[in-house]
Structures are given as C-alpha cells and as structure tokens.
Symmetry: C2
Subunit: 199 residues, 2 copies
DNA sequence: GGTTCTAGAACC
DNA sequence: GGTTCTAGAACC
C-alpha cells in the first residue's frame, strides 16, 4: 500500500481507517493474486470482514473498505472476536428456559403442598375450637349439675370464655357476662344451648 | 439451457435436478450478462441459493448446482420459505422469558402472602395453646382449692386434657392418668408445675 | 423477487 | 487464520 505505483489500483482513504479499491480487476490480478492465496474477491472480502472491515460501494463503482474500530490502517488489526455460534447461544437460552420452567413447576408444587398444609392447620384449628366448645359445654353442664360449685367456679367460667377470644363466641360471652348480673342458672342453660347450636 | 451451442458453458447434470457450469468465465460473460441483470457470480449464487440450490465444486474446478428438493430442473421451482428473521425469534424467546419472569414474580408474591398467613395461623395456635394451658392450670387449681369436686370433675379433667391432643402435653396426660391410680392431690400439684414450666 | 453486505459454520 | 458455502437482513 506504500508503493506509489499501486495508487491507481488501491489507496488509503482520507480518514486513514480504510482503503479504496480503485480498479477491482487490476487489484484481483496484480495484488490479490500475488500477496494472498485467495483467487476470489468474495474470499478476500470475507477475510477483511472478519477483521472488522465494512464495504461501501462508491458512486463511481469503486469499493471502499472501512474499519470503524481502528484509528490508523497501519496499526495492527486483530481479528474480531466471533460471536458464540448461534446454535450454542440458542441452546444456552433454551436450557436457561428449561431451568426456569423446571423451577416454576417445582415452586408451583411447593405452593400446592403449602396450601394443603395450611388447610390441614386450619382444619386442626377448627377441631381444636370445636373441642374447646365441647369442653365449655361440659363445664357449664358441671355447673348446672352442681358438681362444680362456688363463686370461684363462676369466675373461672368467665375467665375461660374470655381466654378463648373467638369472635364466634362473642354473643356467648355476652350471655356469660350476665352471670354476674344475678341470672346465673338461667344464663348457663342459654349459653349451653347457644354453644350446642354453633358446633 | 436447451440451446445446444451453450453445452460447453452450462449443461444439466445426469440426475436432472441441477446443472454444471462448465466455463464460469464464459458463463458470466455470455449468459449471466444477457439473461440476468446481475453482474456478479455471488448475486447469481445467492439467488439460486434462495431457490434451494446447493453449490458443489467439482474436481476439475467446474461448479455443480443441485436442488435436492426437485425432481426435474425443468419443473417450476419455488423460492424457499425463509426462516423467520432471527430477531423475531429472539424477541419470541425474550417475551416467553418475560412471561416466565412475571409468573415467577407472581408466585413469589403468593408465597409471601402464604407465609404471612402461616405465621398468623401459627401465632393464633400458640395463643390458643397458651390459653388452654392457662385454663387447665386454673381448672387444676380449682380442684386443688376444692371448688371443683367429685368423680365427674376428675373425669372431665381427663377428657379435657385428651381432647386437646397435643404432643407437648403427653407427659402431662401421663401424670393425669395417675389421678385414677390414687395419688390424686400429689399428681395435680405436679401437673400444675409442669404446665407452668412449659408456658 | 433480485442485489448486496454480513456473519455463521465447517473445513483445511 | 484463510476459504467456501450458506442464509439473514436490508434495500430496491
């Protein structure tokens, strides 16, 4: 390219980051044939392309090769890092996709198991609530039958009822509150039937 | 291709599903230039390629174009369906990826909600357990203080304890079982302290 | 549907 | 790292 006699075949562009092939026919015969093994322009172009050169057709039919990544055509130009083969990339994406899908499936299964467990816990809690109600009924029955007696026993029933703190029982609490307003026996019978009705 | 005078430039192959360019230079000058707009062999090859032709180099340097999808070179040959552009495919994968990510995000949210619910259930259950223990202590205290009396009351304690069905209480059940083996007052005191120690 | 540049893939 | 075929993409 330094050779002045070749200036009408090939010469640098003004930006000094490429070159113009002035006479492609002569270039093929006199330069490509002598300096490269390549016989075809396509092969020459593929090589330049793999070093980062782009080809532009000038209006006079001449071809301009420019490498936008270099500052000077005289510097060492390295072959561009090729993209990983498409198939590999595709398989990578595909396998990532598969991993995501597997994870999703696993998570969905886990969620189903968790929901089942929550349902079990809820039904257990319902069972416990039911049994506590039964216990309360039995206790009230004990008061009615007279084998549980005295002011302390009444206080205990009240405490017991409030300790359960269940919205479902609020009307029963209200009834039991009346125990301290004198209607002890009557209130107990009402409470017992209320409890039986909501079990 | 029917023209006999062109047989030394281009001719059909024996299988009749392609053709051989015998003299590429003459082919370019005499045929490509006259019948096609194309000036370059590359363009001609690209066109043939998009119709399904593959190129083979013969040992004598001649080029053999074969279309393995056709039976005869004389039939109508249709342009191959192009693959959907890579970018479209990439975007498809990307959007599927986005859908997966959205699903993951949704599932994570669901799991957080579920965990919150489980924590709520657990704390409720702890509360219930604590209150049941307190109730049991009060009941036992009642037995000790004498305001709860008789065989029925004892039976009730046992029933109450078993109705709770909690592994944590199993040693307490065992203690209470002893109530029916004569050591009534002593067992009740032990049970009360056991209950207090695990609250 | 042809043209051209570009880059992947396989081969050497 | 060059060579060659192939096909994507953009443009006409």
């Amino acid at each position: 390219m330094q050779n002045q006699s070749l200036q009408n075949i090939i010469r640098k562009n003004e930006e000094n980051n490429g070159f113009i092939i002035v006479n492609q026919k002569e270039f093929l015969e006199k330069i490509l044939f002598q300096y490269y093994k390549s016989k075809t322009f396509a092969s020459f172009r593929r090589s330049l392309n793999s070093y980062g050169f782009q080809v532009y057709q000038l209006q006079n039919g001449q071809k301009l090769f420019i490498n936008k990544n270099i500052i000077s055509i005289n510097q060492n130009i390295h072959k561009r890092n090729l993209n990983p083969p498409f198939q590999n990339y595709y398989q990578l994406i595909e396998s990532e996709h598969q991993i995501l899908l597997l994870q999703l499936t696993q998570i969905k299964k886990n969620q189903q198991l968790m929901e089942q467990n929550i349902k079990r816990v809820l039904s257990l809690q319902e069972e416990i609530t039911r049994k506590m109600k039964l216990t309360m009924i039995q206790y009230i029955q004990g008061l009615l039958d007279g084998f549980i007696k005295g002011k302390k026993a009444e206080q205990f029933v009240l405490q017991f009822c409030f300790s359960i703190k269940n919205k479902q029982f609020s009307n029963i609490f209200e009834t039991i509150r009346k125990i301290y307003e004198g209607q002890f026996q009557k209130s107990l019978i009402i409470t017992r039937y209320q409890l039986l009705s909501i079990i």
